[in-house]
Symmetry: C2
Subunit: 221 residues, 2 copies
């Protein structure tokens, strides 16, 4: 009946893969958790026995209702703690992931809900990722695209990243890009897909395609 830390990390990974790939393959799970397919098989069998995943040999894994709720609850905790760390303890967005990775495994629903309440029931975490509500509903954002899609001449606001690794976030720090930053897409260079953006002070920055493909934006009305 008790779900271990390791199991919760598996559930989170399966949730992510299921949303992005439809099903969580053994190999993808292993890669995400920095483990091996053999180890994954063992854990999937355990999670299956406990009714948290549906799993048939060779067919990959899917979360059950119960498993999905548990995964969503863990994601909720993770993202709420990230908000706490950034908003209340003044951590920067590139330093909160590891701590949240530990905090997400503590306490019960009551605890999380009080934390959410205390934080004002935020809808997004410091990386722009949506925070599931107490029932596990995720409000998916509309009108969000990758900045690489922005047409020259449009205005947009940065509202998320698809890569929350410390390295990428630190790179954005150096470029001065953060959540809520507004830019004007000046031009795209077809040669290498890089772009030129300008902010409202008129300062210009050059963005490589690798970076622009990981930044989520909302185009200004």
């Amino acid at each position: 009946m008790e779900v271990s830390v390791s199991q919760e990390n598996y559930l989170k990974t399966i949730l992510k893969l299921e949303r992005s790939e439809g099903i969580a393959s053994n190999q993808a799970i292993a890669q995400n958790l920095d483990s091996t397919p053999a180890a994954v098989t063992g854990m999937l069998r355990k999670l299956c026995e406990e009714g948290l995943v549906e799993y048939e040999a060779y067919q990959g894994a899917k979360l059950t209702q119960v498993g999905e709720q548990h995964a969503l609850s863990t994601v909720r905790k993770h993202r709420l703690w990230e908000v706490f760390l950034v908003e209340k303890l003044n951590f920067r967005w590139d330093t909160v992931h590891q701590l949240a990775e530990e905090l997400e495994h503590i306490g019960n629903e009551d605890f999380v809900n009080r934390l959410a309440e205390f934080l004002g029931n935020p809808l997004f975490d410091p990386h722009g990722d949506p925070i599931p509500d107490a029932a596990g509903n995720i409000r998916e954002r509309v009108d969000v695209v990758f900045s690489s899609e922005a047409e020259a001449g449009t205005m947009f606001v940065v509202c998320g990243v698809s890569d929350s690794s410390d390295e990428f976030l630190r790179h954005l720090n150096r470029l001065g890009i953060e959540l809520g930053s507004k830019y004007h897409a000046v031009e795209r260079f077809e040669f290498d897909g890089s772009m030129e953006w300008s902010n409202n002070q008129g300062a210009r920055i050059l963005i490589s395609s690798g970076v622009s493909e990981k930044i989520l934006i909302q185009v200004h009305a």
Copy 2:
């Protein structure tokens, strides 16, 4: 170099016993951690190897400088989290111990210090226990005695308890006694050591000796 959750709980227990008994006997540790002397011996050897306790066979255990700092840091975290839970998340004082018992094992010094800062560097936890500062110094309270010592006629304020068990705290809840409550010691009945107190609304309560011996007070000037 990494101290496990279990080891941190041992260090906290040894710290407590050392302060109260001078030395931490094998048996006392076992009793506190709900374990057995044999298990304690094993752990003490490990902690000794890691330089966290001084330990000679049959002579009981004492913390080294490093071990004491670590224990104090864990106690600091525990009590700060209790403050957070009560002050920010509106938990009651009888429901925070178990959660703090988990939270105390997470994160590093930077994290704790930011938490302390956020909470306004409180000096006491919700049970009146002093919170060590970042350097491990505990400001010991002066003029604090057990309420059983209060002489009839004196006024006093409740500032701590020597038993933070949920059961005892819930009993105090029922009696309406909390940290900061002011009372007047009306009379002590020598027959059984029980006392009568009155609050500033004139309401009177009868306090058994068992209870009065666990409540810490400061006598009013």
